[in-house]
Symmetry: C2
Subunit: 141 residues, 2 copies
Amino acid sequence: MATATQDTELVGSLVQLMHVLQDLYAETSRPLGLTPQQAHLLCVLLDGPLGMTDLSRILSIERSSLTSMVDRLERRDLVARIPNPTDRRAFQITLTDAGLALAHEAHNAYTTQIEKRLTDLPASHRKTLITAIATITGHAQ
Amino acid sequence: MATATQDTELVGSLVQLMHVLQDLYAETSRPLGLTPQQAHLLCVLLDGPLGMTDLSRILSIERSSLTSMVDRLERRDLVARIPNPTDRRAFQITLTDAGLALAHEAHNAYTTQIEKRLTDLPASHRKTLITAIATITGHAQ
DNA sequence: TATTGTTATACTCTATAACTATA
DNA sequence: TATAGTTATAGAGTATAACAATA
């Protein structure tokens, strides 16, 4: 059946796209002295400080794994643990000035690299892509 | 400018899609007793045996990193190092029967999970997606 | 000389289980 | 009791540098 074949092809395309983007993400992070995971963490914090539990949920890692990641970034003065005034158990993980600058730098670098790969894409396809991806990721457009 | 805004939105969509697919890949590998990297390796070998150098290039990792990955998979009898008859330095990394079965299982699991997310996607969007992704990943359609 | 693959080493990522402090 | 975060531990992924064997 034609539809089934197209589905299989699309799934393969998506997996391949994931790997291509992963490689690009890693290659772009490296010269900035960041692992892809560290870059992801910093970029998430661009939207504002978060507690450990929220951050671990967004990054899809255990809180204990996050503890050591934050330790390493804090040692490099890229993030800081700010005590939460309303809950003495909790912290707000915040970007330092250096962390903010590096997060912007990483974000710009990815954007530049990905945009390079979009140059051959017609405007109509871009619109469809945005809508289709929103459907796949399960978010409102 | 409208185009610039759409570009930014598309880049963000692609990065988010990457993370969603990564998480899905990890969650699907786990119950099979595989890390996402191990699953990737096994699935690459579905297309046939490969030497260490080729495999490291396809997986975008150093040969020395691959050595330890193959060690672990070989210990579990999922892959085997077959001596290359024409080059006594080289091996062909091959799926064992168990590895082949597990690679198929992993592949089917991803396909099922991803297809679940494609149900709401109109057929016309699927066709466009396949073409657009091919452009991004830089492959012929 | 160049290439194939490994070893040694160091660091990061990650999970599980048990824990402390606070709510 | 439940939640926020940490510690201890173990295993996996990764890179760099140096190496042995073969081409």
